[in-house]
């Protein structure tokens, strides 16, 4: 039952933000974030365990996981490329960037390469409208992406 609390406590004993043991639904996001950090995705089993612990329904956890772009309900690759699809990026040609990535990686948007290394995703605004089209590679922001930059990013990640 207290499995997920323990995960947090072991990770950082001193930090107060991990002391989330009042078992209310407001704990949900911190727990999900932690599991996402730890495993890279939130599995079916995780979702049901969390729901049981917080006294909510598994479908509510699933709803939250699917709502947030940074939470995965399925196993993702080692690296994730997120292409912004907010309006300024679209006007600056993010669709072309997406196509370019798809071509370079040989996958469609939303998929993972066969070697489980790179996942390609679309994401809503990441606050980089001034540097559109923007791309987020793992936790790093890349602005004013061009075809050349796409090739560089893929090359870098594949290394």
């Amino acid at each position: 039952m207290a499995k997920y609390c323990a995960v947090g406590k072991r990770a950082d004993k001193d930090s107060k933000e991990y002391n989330i043991c009042d078992e209310s639904r407001s704990e949900l996001l911190p727990i999900l974030e932690k599991i996402q950090d730890k495993r890279g995705y939130i599995s079916d089993k995780d979702m049901q365990q969390i729901a049981d612990r917080l006294g909510i329904h598994p479908v509510e956890v699933y709803s939250v996981v699917t709502f947030y772009s940074f939470l995965n309900s399925e196993k993702a690759g080692k690296h994730t490329i997120r292409v912004s699809n907010c309006i300024s990026s679209v006007m600056k040609g993010s669709k072309r960037i997406v196509r370019e990535f798809e071509k370079e990686l040989g996958i469609n948007i939303g998929e993972t390469t066969r070697d489980k290394k790179i996942t390609l995703k679309e994401i809503s605004c990441i606050g980089m409208c001034d540097l559109a089209p923007a791309v987020m590679v793992d936790s790093q922001l890349v602005g004013r992406v061009t075809t050349q930059k796409v090739k560089d990013i893929v090359k870098e990640l594949k290394r």
């Binding site: 479908v59 509510e60 709803s63 809503s124």
Partner: protein
């Protein structure tokens, strides 16, 4: 304005705060207290602080259209159909979610409002795959009526022509078609808040939002209890009950088959609504005529086996009490009723370790099926293989119940088809019959006589009242000490009700009950069932003996197969009709039913809870648990 009668408590609701109604302390109308002036379309009125614009408008008969708002559910403010113009506010406001706290001036049909409302309805229609002619909700669809009332003449924003999602027909009871969904989230609020089952929720975001089950699994693979409350509240045809009408017609048309129908009490008090009668008009006898004319060979009454249920369940309780009090055995008490298949599946999923508390007696529908294919077939000299047993039920979970593999104690499938009130109304309409104006006729015997005690099974507290009347009389030899047999403490609409009945003197064989106070509890809606189960788990119910639980708010008359719409007022009207009809019946206690006496003399010779009763009338439950296993995932046809 009265506080809204909701079937669940807002204070203890687990719904997220954002989904709960704004709680302002409202003062009663006419009482001294904070009121606020509001001008709606030039009509001035004073309303208690915190009244929403929608409520205020309703009180002066100004009609504001709504879609996501429902009297049973907490407010959501997601559809925006109820927008109005509030003076000094830059944007249009959703009137259902706007509590009035300062004097305001509202316009409900200004050009801006009309234009906005029409746009919103057109946007809703944009994503609605409307195949109105073949839709189960044709002519009873809230979206359809809105489009008509608010002047939608074309699809300004386009219209989808192709279905985008696969239909989910996996469940025995509830079918889902996401193509017709307008994302009002009534089903979500029903499932999570009203029933606390938690099968449906909105997933993804923005344009990709859809209502889904856990991991998009088929409904049959998740923990759905088939109560069908979501069907009753869906404003479109996205949710419907599985309709066996064609199979029933085929059986009727087959001359080799002997088709019988049993009708439950709740549909009889509600089916008139489908024919334009006011809620609470009982048409039992006209319905008998209609069913005969449709071609059913015999028209029977589920009340007969409801009486049988009381005999079996009451005896089971008394035997358990004897075991506990005299033999000092460890037996799970309190005993729960088992008439509601939604509740049975709920406890199988959520409290599988407490299944020992549930009475082993089958529900009246299943008892009837078993009796028809044994006793009745034998008496009439009909081969049970040729009997097609149909039931008219207010309930979608009954469809699942009759498909349970263990329900074949007669050697055949006990009940072949369970029709809901809506489906039977459709079949009657198909025959061109005007139900309210048909001549009256009686049920067929021997399975057509029920008592008043059985009739009130349809409302919450009814099973308890019937059981009290019989058990009390068996034990003391006297009638229950209530005026006209009205066991008032268990009646009403509160979510959980309790009653205590002291047994002052008992007959010789029940001497051990003398001085014992029978403590009972009644709950309706699985949210209340959950509260009761949690009390049980905490050990707070040790002094209780018998607990009635119905899965649907209001009991069976608010069931998932009943005419749409539903609201607290409609359910109260139906309950009144049932109580009224009950007082006019010749027999009002289950054990007085002459045919019950006959069946125990002729067929179930060992009496209630005897060996044959145990074989035919009792069942076993499956501990299912709430963990959702790995099974196939329903796929979406085309990406949004």
């Amino acid at each position: 304005m009265d506080k809204k009668k909701r079937p669940f408590s807002e204070k203890t609701s687990r719904a997220p705060v954002s989904q709960r109604p704004q709680s302002f302390e409202k003062t009663a109308k006419g009482a001294l207290g904070a009121t606020v002036k509001v001008i709606i379309d030039d009509i001035e009125l004073h309303v208690p602080m915190g009244t929403t614009i929608l409520e205020a408008a309703k009180s002066i008969n100004v009609n504001i259209p709504t879609l996501c708002q429902h009297d049973d559910l907490c407010l959501a403010g997601v559809c925006r159909v109820c927008i109005v113009e509030v003076e000094d506010q830059k944007t249009l406001q959703a009137s259902c979610a706007y509590p009035i706290t300062v004097p305001i001036k509202v316009k409900t049909y200004s050009p801006k409002v009309r234009r906005g409302r029409r746009n919103i309805i057109q946007l809703l229609l944009r994503n609605h795959y409307g195949e109105c002619y073949s839709c189960s909700k044709n002519n009873n669809c809230e979206l359809q009526s809105l489009a008509k009332e608010y002047g939608v003449k074309s699809y300004t924003f386009g219209h989808i022509e192709e279905p985008r999602y696969e239909q989910d027909n996996s469940s025995y009871s509830v079918e889902r078609d996401m193509n017709k969904c307008v994302l009002c989230r009534r089903c979500v609020r029903t499932c999570i808040d009203l029933q606390e089952v938690g099968v449906l929720e909105a997933v993804e975001k923005g344009a990709e939002t859809r209502i889904a089950t856990y991991l998009d699994k088929p409904l049959n693979d998740v923990i759905c209890i088939n109560c069908g409350q979501c069907i009753n509240r869906c404003p479109t045809g996205a949710l419907k009950a599985k309709d066996p009408a064609e199979e029933v017609w085929a059986a009727i048309d087959d001359p080799a088959k002997h088709v019988i129908i049993q009708t439950a009490p709740s549909p009889r008090a509600a089916i008139g609504e489908e024919f334009g009668l006011a809620p609470g008009t009982s048409v039992t006898k006209q319905l008998n005529t209609a069913l005969r004319r449709m071609g059913f060979d015999k028209v029977f009454d589920t009340n007969f086996t409801a009486d049988l249920t009381i005999m079996e369940e009451g005896t089971e309780l008394l035997l358990k009490l004897r075991d506990v009090l005299v033999n000092k055995k460890k037996i799970a008490l309190p005993q729960f009723t088992s008439c509601s298949p939604g509740w049975v599946k709920y406890i199988e999923h959520f409290y599988p370790d407490k299944l020992g508390h549930v009475s082993t007696a089958k529900s009246p529908q299943q008892m009837f099926g078993a009796i028809v294919k044994t006793w009745y077939a034998e008496r009439e000299g009909i081969d049970p293989a040729d009997i097609v047993s149909v039931s008219l039920m207010p309930c979608s979970a009954k469809k699942f119940e009759c498909e349970r593999p263990e329900m074949d104690d007669s050697g055949f499938k006990d009940v072949d088809f369970a029709l809901t009130t809506r489906e039977l109304a459709g079949m009657i309409k198909e025959c061109g019959m005007d139900l309210p104006n048909l001549p009256k006729s009686e049920f067929d015997n021997p399975l057509g006589t029920g008592t008043g005690a059985a009739l009130i099974f349809g409302t919450t507290g009814g099973v308890m009242e019937a059981a009290i009347r019989t058990v009390y009389e068996i034990v003391t030899g006297e009638e229950v000490p209530f005026n006209k047999l009205r066991v008032t403490p268990v009646r009403g609409t509160e979510g959980i009700r309790e009653a205590a009945l002291p047994v002052k003197k008992a007959k010789k064989e029940w001497k051990f009950l003398e001085g014992v106070t029978l403590k009972v509890m009644v709950g309706h809606g699985t949210a209340n069932a959950k509260k009761i189960m949690d009390m049980l788990c905490r050990g707070e119910l040790s002094g209780y003996h018998f607990i009635e639980i119905m899965a649907c708010p209001g009991g069976c008359l608010g069931g998932g197969g009943q005419p749409i719409p539903t609201s607290p007022e409609i359910r109260e009207a139906r309950a009144k009709a049932i109580y009224k009809e009950e007082e006019g019946l010749p027999y009002r206690k289950s054990h007085e039913n002459p045919f019950i006496k006959l069946i125990y003399k002729e067929f179930l010779k060992e009496g209630p809870c005897g060996d044959l009763s145990h074989k035919l009338l009792h069942t076993k439950y499956t501990p299912r648990g709430k963990w959702i296993g790995k099974k196939k995932v329903a796929k979406r046809l085309i990406a949004v």
